[in-house]
Every structure is written in C-alpha cells, then in structure tokens.
C-alpha cells in the first residue's frame, strides 16, 4: 500500500544576494543585523493525494517548481508549511550522477550507493553481479571512479539506482543515459520499474511520453497548480497555452 499525501504544502527558499554572513559579523552586528535574505516562494499551497495505481505526470515551464516538488515528495526538502505524509519505500531518480566517492573503485561505489538505498551486505550479495552486468563497465569497475567519463558515471549510477524494486518511483526528466544502446536498455529497465511500482510520479517535457505513461497529470505554473486531472486534458491545455502565447507562460518571476 503506497501513498503520497501533501496537504497545503508551502516551500520557501531564502536566497542570499551576496555571500554568507560570517560569525564575526554576526557577533558584532548581533541584534541589529536585519536579515538580507531574499525569499523565493517555490511551491504555493499545494495539495496532492496519490494512491496505489496512480501515475502522475508533472508538466510546466522551466523554473515552475517541478523538480522542487519531486524533491519534496522524496523527503529531501522539508515543507515550510503544511504536511507531507508518505507510505511505502521511495526510489527517486533525480540527481543520480551525484554522490560518488571519486577515490573508490566502481565496485566499492556500487556498495556505498546500495547501502545508501537501504541494502545490507546480505541482500546486496545477490544483486551486485547483476548491477555490474547491467552497467556493462566490465574491468573499468576496478579503477577509481575519478577516471570515469560522464557517460560511464551515469551508466553506473543508473544501474545501481534502478536495481531496487520500489513501491514509489519518482523520476525527473527521463535521463539521457549513456550511448544509444544503453539508452534503449535503460528505457526498457525504466518501463519495467514503472510497471512494477505501485505509484509513479514523473517529470517530463516530452508530452507524448507523459500521455503514454501516466493516467493523471498536473500542470505547475510559478509554483502553483494551474490545472490537474486526466492526463490528456491537462496536456492539451498546456500545449494550447504554450503554442498560443509563447513566452508568456515562461516569464519567470
């Protein structure tokens, strides 16, 4: 039983115009120091409830808050206001190319990342070989990740991240993974995961793919939900808006 429940979620970032304040400045100016941070209201009073079987597509212009919403669902950004309630184990394919230990070998990095995803040495034993095989990196797994090319890194990252069987799958902007052959393979693997996961949230600018994969959609505009409901209806409205008034909907705040 998987569930994501967001109730009146607000998320505000405070961005500093200049550099960070130092402790010395803070101690000297102390109480007189007025906070020069600029507030950015990234998500505005959103409520979303997702249950088993829901496949949600998230669309909207660049900077609308799609990725932020996904990270909030994954628990990385805590909401400023409102409540987040998630049941079921999550796998998020967002920034998977980050977080390698450059001095460790590919094999070791598979272990760290897998432990980070909640594996234990016992459960990993049966999987590590298939992760390595899927990455097709062969002997390169014995050398430090520092020497990998960007494509090799993303291969390794995807192979590990997709080795779990999550109940909730969060995918940001279906990644262009490696070369053509690997892309085809990755797409297949992703489709498998999507069909197994009981709940899926995906961000994409590929409206065709959204229509095929999802049964629900939300359109986010400047941090707020502009339209939600049946995937075809939302995608059509978004397409109309984007073609009729190009530039208008992308004017970021």
């Amino acid at each position: 039983m998987a569930k994501i429940e967001l109730n009146n979620i607000d998320l505000t970032f405070s961005i500093r115009q200049t550099r960070k304040i130092t402790l010395k400045e803070w101690l000297v100016q102390g109480i007189f120091w007025n906070n020069p941070a600029k507030k950015i209201h990234a998500l505005k009073t959103m409520s979303i409830t997702l249950q088993d079987g829901d496949r949600l597509g998230v669309i909207g212009h660049n900077g609308a808050g799609k990725s932020t919403l996904l990270k909030l669902m994954a628990g990385i950004y805590p909401p400023t206001n409102g409540s987040r309630n998630v049941e079921g184990n999550i796998c998020s394919l967002c920034v998977i190319s980050l977080g390698f230990e450059p001095d460790a070998s590919g094999w070791d990095n598979i272990r760290y990342r897998a432990y980070l995803q909640g594996e234990t040495p016992a459960t990993l034993k049966g999987k590590i070989q298939s992760i390595a095989e899927f990455s097709e990196l062969g002997d390169f797994l014995n050398i430090p990740v520092r020497y990998y090319s960007a494509g090799m890194l993303i291969r390794l990252a995807f192979s590990i991240a997709s080795a779990v069987e999550p109940e909730i799958l969060l995918i940001d902007e279906v990644l262009a993974v490696g070369d053509l052959a690997f892309q085809i393979k990755a797409r297949k693997r992703m489709e498998q995961m999507m069909s197994k996961a009981s709940l899926l949230v995906t961000i994409s600018h590929d409206l065709q793919a959204i229509c095929e994969l999802c049964n629900r959609a939300i359109w986010i505009d400047h941090g707020a939900i502009r339209l939600e409901g049946d995937v075809r209806k939302v995608v059509e409205a978004y397409r109309q808006c984007a073609t009729n008034s190009p530039g208008l909907h992308t004017a970021a705040a």
Binding site: S14, I76, Y112, Y115
Partner: protein
C-alpha cells in the same frame, strides 16, 4: 528521537563502509601506511622531551614523555574531531541532497575516522608506559578496563562537538578559522605540557578544574600513568559533561536538521 537512532543503525553499513574508505584512501599511497599517524605523536613527544630535559634539569623525561603523549593524543582527538567536523556536511553534500537520512550519520563518519588515529596513539602510549615503568610493566595495560567507560564518554563528547561545529560552519563560513584560533590558544591554557598544579598556582583555577578536556585528562591520563582508578565523583563529572554536550548536539540537530539543506 528513537526513530532517528534506529535509522542511523539501519544504515550502519553505509557510514561504516565510508569510514573504511576514508582510512583506505588516506594510507593507500604511503609505504609506511598507518605508521604515518604513529610518527606524528612520537616525533612531537621526542621534541618536547628534548626541550624540557634541557630546560628543566629536574624533570624526569621518562615520566614526562608518557604524560605529554597522553595529553597530546586526547587533545588531538578532540581538536581534530571538531575541526574536521566543520567540513562534514559539505563533504557529504551529495548524499544529503539525494537521501533524507538522519544528519547525525555524517559527523559519525568524521569522528570514527579520527578515532582510529587516537587508538593508534593510545597503543603507542601503552607501549611507552610499559617500557618506562620499572615496577610493574603491565600496570597501564591493566588499566584498560578502568578507562574504557571514559573512552566511550570521550567518543560521544567528540561526536557532539563535531555535530555542533558542522552545523556552525554551514551557517557561518568563518567558523572553522575561528575554531582553529580557539584551539591554538587553549593548547597553551590546557595542562598538556605542564602539570595541572601550574594553572592553580597562577590563579587560573577555573581552567584547571572547569575545562572538559581536563576532566578527560583526569579520567584517562591519570589512571594510565599512576595506576589508580579515578574516583567516582570524577567519573560522574565526566558523564555530566558528556551528556551536556550530547544534549547540545541533539538540540542543534532538532533545531536545524530540516533547515540545513537550504543553506548548503
């Protein structure tokens, strides 16, 4: 709270394997390997012994060498835990951005790394005392069970410091620099190179009795050197200091854990 601890435990393979990696990468390129971290405290002790034996003729260097090494290793453990704690959240930023794990894990990685060095220094110290003690060569070794609870307290204390310095550096970028200055000053105000009595004589009694470092000196250095178990009241003092630091760290975690990601 309990949930957090069980999460830390659940992901133990993650942080333990990172500690192992830290050690491996640090020693991979040197032939001497782990010996390098032996060399530092030994050289320091030799230099200071040579200095002091020529300055103060009455000093018995055979008892001074273990005294200095013991103080120095405890001091170094506290200092390096705090200072490397400063970078802990930056070093692990990629993991923090990927997985919402309890942040207490990352200072744990740092402190366990520095703990290894402390253990090595402690081993050298035990050897030194055993060689230099004429009466009973096994006296220091017999003291290991006595100081063990104090060592556990010291590790918790260092973890707490590293949590606090880690959060401080995320919010104020000059914290590490200020802490370095602080430790530099207190190196001379802490009875590492001289006896506690010196501070009391100079009317600096507060530094001689109030400093948490001195409490750990009395709990770990004294028993090893003298062969006498510390009194219970002193151990109680150690427990209180450790718990105060730990509560401070837990309060900081509770207060800032959810804010950290926005400041990295």
């Amino acid at each position: 709270m309990i949930g957090q601890i069980s999460l830390v435990w659940k992901f133990r393979y993650f942080w333990l394997s990172l500690v192992k990696l830290d050690l491996k990468t640090r020693y991979r390129r040197s032939i001497l390997g782990i010996g390098w971290s032996l060399l530092n405290p030994i050289l320091m002790t030799i230099v200071f012994c040579l200095l002091f034996s020529t300055w103060q003729q009455n000093k018995d260097w055979k008892s001074f060498a273990p005294f200095f090494l013991a103080g120095l290793s405890i001091w170094e453990f506290i200092r390096s835990s705090t200072l490397s704690g400063c970078q802990t959240f930056f070093r692990n930023e990629a993991y923090i951005r990927q997985c919402p794990l309890p942040l207490a894990i990352y200072p744990l990685r740092t402190v366990l790394g520095t703990l290894i060095h402390f253990m090595i220094a402690l081993g050298v110290l035990l050897l030194l005392i055993s060689v230099f003690t004429e009466a009973d060569h096994w006296r220091a070794v017999k003291m290991i069970p006595v100081i063990f609870p104090s060592l556990v307290l010291l590790i918790i204390f260092c973890w707490a410091l590293s949590v606090i310095s880690g959060f401080l550096t995320v919010f104020f970028q000059d914290s590490q620099h200020l802490l370095e200055v602080f430790f530099q000053i207190f190196f001379f105000l802490t009875p590492i190179m001289y006896d506690n009595q010196l501070l009391v004589d100079r009317h600096l009694k507060l530094l001689a009795t109030g400093s948490p470092v001195v409490i750990f000196f009395d709990l770990i250095r004294e028993p090893l050197l003298s062969g006498n178990a510390p009194p219970l009241w002193l151990f109680t003092k150690g427990v209180i200091v450790t718990f105060a630091a730990m509560l401070g760290a837990l309060a900081v975690i509770r207060w800032l854990e959810k804010k950290l990601i926005f400041h990295l």
